[in-house]
């Protein structure tokens, strides 16, 4: 599950088929990546109905904007994750999700603490390993940025820690994750 190479292996072929607007390829693409994308979207928007809408928007965008995908700039999975994440984050930044301004205290952080402790029920040893390995202070920063759409300065502000600390913790978390997947 932690191995991303299975996605990578079929990527070249998939990309070629998608470029040719091969109808079968989109089905293949959906089956390969829907769970990964849906999982991220759900972590961002936290509501199933909304996540379902965003997943559909995501695939429509992938399919219609495929000509703008450039292999030279990155892998297909990276590109698709970006689309999914951006659409999901746009959603939570829209009116329904952030009705009030930043003055509403600790909304983000509370949510993340709640999510990271209660909502995730790892059923996979790999998931457990990773989440257990991450120090909570590091994990919350990654989660806020990746699933909450917070920038580094927003994280620093929300958690009331120096920007340098945000950088260091984020870096250590990514390094650790990198070691775990090798």
């Amino acid at each position: 599950m932690l191995d991303t190479t299975s996605h990578v292996l079929s990527e070249d072929l998939l990309v070629a088929q998608l470029r040719a607007k091969d109808q079968k390829a989109i089905s293949q693409l959906y089956h390969n990546y829907s769970a990964a994308l849906y999982g991220v979207i759900l972590r961002v928007v936290k509501q199933e109905e909304v996540a379902e809408d965003v997943l559909q928007e995501t695939f429509v965008k992938i399919w219609s904007a495929f000509s703008s995908y450039d292999e030279q700039k990155g892998r297909l999975f990276t590109w698709m994750l970006n689309i999914a994440r951006n659409l999901a984050i746009d959603k939570i930044r829209s009116k329904q999700y952030r009705v009030s301004s930043k003055t509403q205290p600790m909304e983000g952080t509370d949510t993340f603490r709640m999510v990271s402790s209660d909502e995730i029920k790892p059923d996979d040893i790999g998931v457990k390993e990773i989440t257990n390995q991450l120090i909570p202070d590091q994990k919350i920063i990654i989660d806020m940025m990746y699933f909450g759409g917070y920038t580094q300065s927003e994280v620093a502000e929300e958690l009331n820690i120096p920007l340098g600390t945000v950088k260091t913790r984020a870096r250590m978390a990514i390094k650790l994750l990198g070691k775990l997947i090798k």
């Binding site: 991303t4 917070y150 990198g178 997947i181």
Partner: protein
């Protein structure tokens, strides 16, 4: 900023985690395009965060699968969609039940016949192969023979050319050897190159000799004979003898096969002074 400093700053990890503003992201992308080390670090960071993202994977409902795939299928032109649909065709299948028996019999005959033809063909082909192998062996021997002959000819041709050069060299002296016995018509010719000291002898006009004997050439210096080598009998062409440093005369004697250490003067055949 130095490339390594840039990598160590943590900005790449922040990019992967999604914590950068758009201008900051653009800067990382720009650096990655320029420096392979940055690109590699970025790739590693992205793989790490993607692995983390995958730990949250959750399969959407089956209903959603169908809905999304239907939405996507509806998007390209209907034309393209139709083209890919295979068209079913009915192909009539012939009734073979009545023909079955004769069919089987025919097959058996055909198979037997093929076996006989095959056996005959095998014998014929085996013989052909054997013949060809023998031909090949003979052909190889012949080729070897040709190669040998060609080498011989080449060697001869080289010797002739060499000889012509020596004989026509201004430094080469030609010494006529005449029969000691007036009644004898025997004669010989020595070619002696003053510079190289090479000696050649033309034995063409020497009379035939009994078996077990051989002509031998001598150089004479101050009355003393110097061995210049025996003359090959099989070869009546001009032949090279032993090199002679100094000489006043040349003489040929008949000697036992293989030559002698000193000339048998009673058997002196031809001689000539320089």
């Amino acid at each position: 900023m130095d490339t390594q400093d840039f990598i160590d700053s943590g900005v790449i990890e922040l990019y992967a985690a999604g914590g950068l503003s758009e201008p900051e992201m653009a800067e990382v992308e720009n650096q990655a395009l320029q420096h392979p080390a940055v690109k590699a670090a970025l790739e590693n960071a992205l793989r790490a965060i993607e692995a983390y993202a995958l730990t949250h994977a959750q399969t959407p409902s089956f209903k959603l699968d169908e809905q999304i795939l239907a939405t996507l299928s509806a998007r390209p032109s209907a034309e393209q969609y139709q083209e890919e649909r295979p068209v079913a065709q009915t192909i009539p299948f012939p009734d073979t039940s009545t023909q079955e028996f004769s069919f089987q019999k025919q097959w058996k005959w055909a198979a037997s016949l093929l076996l006989v033809i095959s056996a005959i063909a095998n014998i014929y082909l085996y013989r052909q192969v054997q013949e060809k192998e023998q031909e090949l062996v003979a052909s190889r021997q012949q080729t070897r023979q040709y190669v040998y002959q060609t080498n011989q000819l080449e060697q001869k041709s080289f010797q002739s050319e060499n000889l012509v050069q020596v004989l026509t060299d201004p430094q080469t002296k030609s010494i006529a050897l005449k029969a000691v016995d007036q009644k004898n018509s025997a004669s010989g010719k020595v070619f002696w190159n003053q510079e190289t000291k090479d000696v050649f002898f033309n034995p063409r006009n020497l009379p035939p000799i009994p078996a077990g004997t051989q002509y031998q050439l001598w150089a004479l210096l101050d009355g003393k004979p110097i061995d210049a080598g025996v003359i090959a009998l099989a070869n009546l062409d001009v032949q090279q003898m032993k090199a002679i440093e100094q000489a006043q005369a040349f003489a040929v004697t008949l000697e036992p096969m293989g030559g002698s250490a000193s000339p048998t003067l009673s058997n002196l055949v031809v001689s000539g002074t320089i």
